[in-house]
Symmetry: C2
């Protein structure tokens, strides 16, 4: 029987995986519509997310919610079990701020560090390492950004725990490592070894193979962004 | 006596004004630190918002919250009077989605329609009008995006009610008018005539004079964005 929640996703996307981690933590069953298997992707976007034409989209009770961080807020607002956001308004604001920081600053800069060349690559690499330091500082002595448990910001940062390692291997650069960012590195290992990450995240080797096949597309995509 | 809340702002910024509208609606007294009057702006950013180096910043009980939409969420989470977000999780997600849409899609595209030239200006103008249609559709038969009362999305859209009219006058283009978007136009008039807007928003003529003095800076800023 079809489940009440459906996620429109790419199996390899760090953004789609955010929703899966959140749904799993809250114990919400869901089906997936894998966009890799859909011949006419435009038709899907037209139906589910005409403004941004992006995945993930969460379908719940026939209604569509788009943008991965907004979907996380929706999941948090809808299912009370396992709260993802802290109760304190200031702490909530810090979490939202750093989640936006990952999307608006870290990911675009990391992409240039992975796939750019020359001065742009060098500058982006330095900037990226500074960004990792900002995130590391937030961890303080906590096991997870959420404290003793995986929370909203850990989920938003899953990209750093898994995808950054994969992409730097494929791109042949060294952005994130134990020596430069020991506390953030420790967090990434705790996160990857958590029950929910082991169950939900794609296998590292499959991601490496997938992105190895897309190196040229990635390099080209950087050129159009600048 | 200094108030418990302080807003670091520019007096002419549509982003700073969002927080002022929200604080006023909730009846929260606040002081302002006007960045126009501060000689060393970098020192202020270093103290309050080192990641983004942008205003507005809300200072409350010695803690700093940055990014205008995140500050709105903070204000909503902190002061219960006059709820800005709907209670229903799906409606909340729609409001958040469209508020992000205004910041991520509308404002950058409008800027190109105001200050760009040639094909870029023409394409941006068409795109901008489509974006206004998307927002207009959301209003349906409501007086405000928030229903009978000004809510989160009305506040986020204050830029469209006031600044767009000012900027198109200064730039000499015709983006937003009664004929093309009658429902959104009616909303803008209702909004500008509301008690809170009349009290909080800057005078139109002062904004026109301010932006008239910055035309060349605006045109240059578009060139560095592309």
């Amino acid at each position: 029987m079809a489940k009440e929640v459906k996620l429109v996703r790419y199996r390899t996307s760090p953004f789609s995986l955010r929703e899966e981690l959140a749904l799993e933590l809250k114990g919400v069953p869901y089906d997936c519509l894998d966009l890799e298997d859909v011949p006419d992707k435009n038709a899907v976007f037209l139906e589910y997310n005409p403004i941004y034409k992006k995945i993930p989209v969460l379908v719940h009770k026939g209604k569509y919610v788009a943008e991965s961080l907004i979907i996380l807020e929706y999941i948090e607002d809808t299912w009370g079990a396992y709260p993802l956001l802290p109760k304190d308004p200031y702490e909530r604001a810090c979490v939202r701020h750093l989640a936006n920081f990952i999307d608006d600053k870290c990911i675009p800069t990391f992409r240039k560090a992975f796939w750019g060349d020359g001065d742009m690559q060098k500058t982006s690499m330095e900037q990226s390492k500074e960004y990792l330091s900002i995130l590391q500082k937030e961890l303080k002595n906590k096991k997870f950004f959420g404290g003793n448990y995986i929370g909203f910001l850990d989920i938003a940062a899953a990209y750093i725990a898994l995808w950054v390692g994969v992409l730097q291997e494929v791109a042949g650069v060294n952005l994130f490592n134990r020596e430069d960012h020991p506390i953030l590195w420790k967090w990434s290992q705790e996160f990857l070894n958590s029950k929910v990450a082991k169950k939900i995240l794609p296998e590292r080797e499959k991601l490496v193979a997938f992105f190895n096949g897309r190196k040229e597309i990635m390099k080209d995509s950087i050129k159009t962004v600048i």
